[in-house]
Symmetry: C2
Subunit: 223 residues, 2 copies
DNA sequence: ACCTGAACACCGTTCAAGT
DNA sequence: ACCTGAACACCGTTCAAGT
């Protein structure tokens, strides 16, 4: 029999939860939500579909882990001299950019509210809300308003990505089909018709931040 | 050959898009998102799966139509003497109640942003934003902040419903597992730990409305 | 302990055939 | 024009068997 090193004799390409999750993220990025399949995943990892189940309980857990992996990368330390408002904007923008890059994440965030990454995001937002001087009873309301707004935008972006070809990059806060909006009957949809022009060449990031600022103003203007 | 009446000779139980959508809603209500199947649906309608495709293009369209059908019922005329704030609260609460009753709707709303019901909701919100006297350039931002917040809460509710047994009725704005929250390490999650108590016996509707009011205050407090 | 891959139960969707 | 239901291609998941 061959002598074997005592410490590192695992195969270099051995399967692991991390490798599986990383491959899942790649698959999701490349082909969208429909692209993540145990068959496609096992083919990419050069193994059988059953092998994955040794490391991951089921597809739901895999999607949650993939979402968590992407979101975890968005939580930067946070610059030292920031105001709470700036910090919240930074957290929100970090999420926005991650969702912009991995559109499928937006559709998964709300399905995993108790998952670690979302919990950490909520914690971060909450601390800044405390730093803003919001009284105790209002802190939960304020922090969840911010988070729910972010989740809403995230879901929209994922929905838009679904309707477009996977791989294409287009992010938008609301439907984004200004072409459709402009064609709506102005008598039935006067508001949307008026506003359709603003939609045509608006910046999604700015639009997103404007909503955050609106909520921040609401938080600040309590009696 | 038998004589046939000229006008009404269609079978009473003839298939129609409306009947299909209504049955889909019932199935979704009873068994959750996983319960809607072309086989289950066709069994309930006493026909073959292929028959449904004569009236509906595919499952995505069916889900969209079911969502639209539920949402359409939430758009009441609106009381005459209302302030714009009251009108927005009423629209939001109507949606909240619909989503509370049909949890799966929350997960579908963002996938169909350009669908008729969501468009009408956005239109309604937008008109109230105009009535609030928001200047033109700010109207789109303000209305989509409100809608995105609602969509975020809706998605959360749907996610919570998914984790619980289908049929059970429990709605919550954020994870709602205060039991889990209280068990989190207070050193790592000081904010969530502090706030977990407030979560235990809070009213979901009130919590939801508090977020709406926060955004309304933000809209009102522009310089 | 970890991996393999055939097999199972179930999907959405199509389509030739019927009325 | 509308319905029927078998058939197709594809899932997620399991599990006996291997190393």
């Amino acid at each position: 029999m061959a002598t074997r090193a005592r410490n590192t004799d695992r195969r270099e390409d051995a399967l692991s939860r991390d490798r599986i999750v990383a491959a899942a993220v790649e698959l999701l990025d490349a082909a969208g939500e429909g692209g993540l399949t145990f068959r496609a995943l096992s083919a990419r990892l050069r193994t059988g579909p059953g092998a994955i189940y040794w490391h991951v309980a089921n597809k739901g857990e895999l999607l949650g882990a993939a979402t968590d992996a992407v979101l975890a990368g968005t939580l930067l330390p946070g610059a030292p001299g920031q105001t709470p408002e700036q910090a919240i904007r930074e957290i929100a923008l970090g999420l926005f950019d991650a969702i912009d890059e991995h559109a499928w994440v937006g559709g998964q965030m709300s399905r995993v509210a108790s998952q670690s990454a979302t919990l950490r995001i909520f914690e971060r937002i909450g601390r800044q809300v405390q730093a803003l001087g919001v009284p105790d009873e209002g802190q939960f309301h304020a922090a969840s308003a911010v988070l729910n707004y972010i989740l809403g935008v995230a879901g929209q972006n994922a929905a838009n990505a679904r309707t477009q070809a996977p791989g294409t990059n287009r992010t938008d806060v609301l439907g984004a089909e200004s072409a459709i909006w402009e064609r709506l009957d102005p008598a039935e949809y006067p508001f949307i018709h008026t506003v359709a022009g603003q939609l045509r060449d608006h910046d999604d990031r700015e639009q997103f931040l404007a909503g955050i600022d609106l909520i921040l103003k609401g938080i600040a203007s309590r009696p």
